[in-house]
Amino acid sequence: MKEADFRDNETLELFKKSGGNILLTTVDAMIDWGRSNSIWPLTFATSCCGIEMMATGASRHDFARFGIEVYRASPRQADVIVVAGTIVNKMAPVLKRLYDQMSDPKYVIAMGACAVSGGPFYYNSYHVVRGVDHVIPVDVYVPGCPPRPEALLYGVMQLQRKIRLESMSSPRQTVELK
């Protein structure tokens, strides 16, 4: 992603023009900067995309330089859940439970075609959930089967841009899906 694109947030400009509270914008900017630069994911990999996620964390495409320093094994300590791999009917309640156990603010990246929409298993399968957004609300979709590590890094950068748009005066609404 180009530096100019990364820094350019039209919504942020609009908000500044519409006259938000000056005091809060600086605090917001600082908090968002902190949050976006240290997102720690949960170890969650179901199938093939999990391997590309591990490869992204390895030495060639290192995503520790983006702030993803360590993987946390427990959902209570994690910020983001990168759903890498197919979700099936039997696994869906487990995923929902993990998402509920994470503490706010939490984000979701749907990685790979299977998590986005069911992928190669869309037709003729009796046990696959067609897209993880049937179970939990998703922030960023990263398509590919499996997506290249560079694509996952682009997805993480998009998430960072999205986090920078948040503000304390309009807190992030997490939707309760029944």
């Binding site: 949960l42 170890t43 969650f44 990999a45 179901t46 199938s47 093939c48 999990g50 391997i51 590309e52 591990m54 490869a55 390895a58 030495s59 060639r60 993987y71 094994a73 791999g85 197919t86 099936v88 039997k90 696994m91 487990v94 993990l98 190669p120 298993f121 037709y123 003729n124 399968s125 009796y126 046990h127 696959v128 089967c145 499996p146 290249r148």
Partner: protein, 375 residues
């Protein structure tokens, strides 16, 4: 002064304590749920619960044509993706009685062996990580990237290529393929010594693996444990030797058998297999015959009615593909005999009596890939 009160001591009964190593756990084997019943720290029994990645591939294949099945078999055991595809291609070619060009056989064998090295490198990463040696993760993945570069140059993607097709290959290999593979072998022969220095000789690793989780030869045959885990117990089950396919009958390589069947032997088996695979590739890489990269095939493949079975040796054991055909372009019934399902069956038997930390080492040495169990 306080009085000391003596409470009557009753018979303390020890109960079994069940813990759940749930579908999401930090070792990267996938979504396997183990309900382990412990007495203190000793494992009394364990029950695996599968099905958390059951995608119904066998039912889906009944609606797909034979070339389309290749894309689904890729995703079953994704570390031996090419070898899974090889099984389906060989079955279709045998049923239709098609002779593929020699060039195709050589290239398929070389790529199978590269896939095997690739899979064992990743196994080594996760084995080290499960025991706590996180450096192994970075070393193994760094070397694995070299193979993925070779694959990307020829096939277009890093993982899951669907490169084989019934009749031959999808396209010819890149002109630099041979040069890059030779450079990789030279590089990796040096690096594998680093692997030994790092992990094999480490006293902690040896204490944690020698004598743990012993599987005898009779049990290995009875439970159907194949692959490096079976060979470590002395069961000579290498399909490349017993029922050769490709050009395995023209190359020289050893089938190494162990005697003790403990975790350390299963570990050494895979390290030796990487060296044997490199030997196979060296014998073949300079002799790839020129020719077509695919035989002439019809547009629609219909297998004659009947049953067919094909066996291949993946990185984890013997994969079998059984097809019942009724003359249409899709199989009537296709079944994949998964090596990991038998290996999982034996986990209960070999981990009784060991501690829960040993269970992690045993599971890492059996090398499961869960999507292959669940298909």
């Amino acid at each position: 002064m306080k009085e000391v009160i003596h409470l009557p001591v009753q018979n303390v009964e020890e109960e079994e304590y069940h813990i759940n190593m749930g579908p999401q756990h930090p070792s990267t084997h996938g979504v396997l749920r183990l309900v382990v019943s412990l007495q203190g720290e000793i494992v009394k029994s364990l029950k695996p619960h599968c099905g958390y990645i059951h995608r119904g591939i066998e039912k889906m294949c009944e609606k797909d044509t034979y070339p389309q099945i290749i894309h689904l078999t890729d995703r079953m055991d994704y570390f031996s993706a090419h070898i899974n595809n090889h099984a389906v291609c060989l079955l279709v070619e045998k049923a239709l009685e098609i002779e593929v060009p020699d060039r195709v056989k050589y290239i398929r064998t070389i790529i199978d062996e590269l896939t095997r090295i690739n899979s064992h490198q990743l196994w080594w990463c996760s084995f080290g990580m499960d025991l706590g040696a996180l450096t192994c993760f970075f070393y193994g993945l760094r070397d694995r990237e070299k193979i993925l570069d070779i694959f990307e140059e020829s096939f277009g993607s890093r993982l899951l290529h669907s490169y084989y097709t019934p009749g031959g290959l999808m396209m010819d290999i890149h002109p630099d393929f041979q040069k890059n593979v030779k450079a990789f072998i030279k590089y990796f022969r040096k690096k594998i010594k680093d692997y030994d220095n790092l992990l094999t000789g480490n006293i902690i690793m040896q204490e944690r693996t020698k004598g743990i989780g012993i599987l005898t030869r009779e049990d290995a045959i009875n439970y159907g444990v194949t692959g490096p885990s079976g060979r470590a117990s002395g069961f000579a089950c290498d399909v490349r030797k017993r029922h050769p396919y490709g050009v395995y009958d023209k190359v020289e390589f050893r089938e190494i058998l162990g005697t003790k069947g403990d975790t350390f032997e299963r570990y050494s088996m895979r390290m030796h297999e990487m060296l044997e695979s490199m030997k196979i590739i060296e014998q073949l890489i300079d002799n790839i015959p020129a020719g077509d990269y695919s035989a002439k095939m019809k547009a629609v493949l219909k297998l004659p009615g009947g049953e067919y079975y094909q066996r291949v040796e993946t990185a984890r054991g013997e994969l079998g593909v059984y097809v019942v055909s009724d003359g249409n372009k899709s199989p009537f019934r296709i079944k994949f005999r998964s090596p990991n399902l038998s290996n999982l069956n034996v986990l209960d038997h070999i981990s009784r009596g060991w501690k829960i930390a040993d269970l992690v080492a045993i599971g890492a040495s059996m090398d499961f890939v869960i999507p292959d169990i669940d298909r």
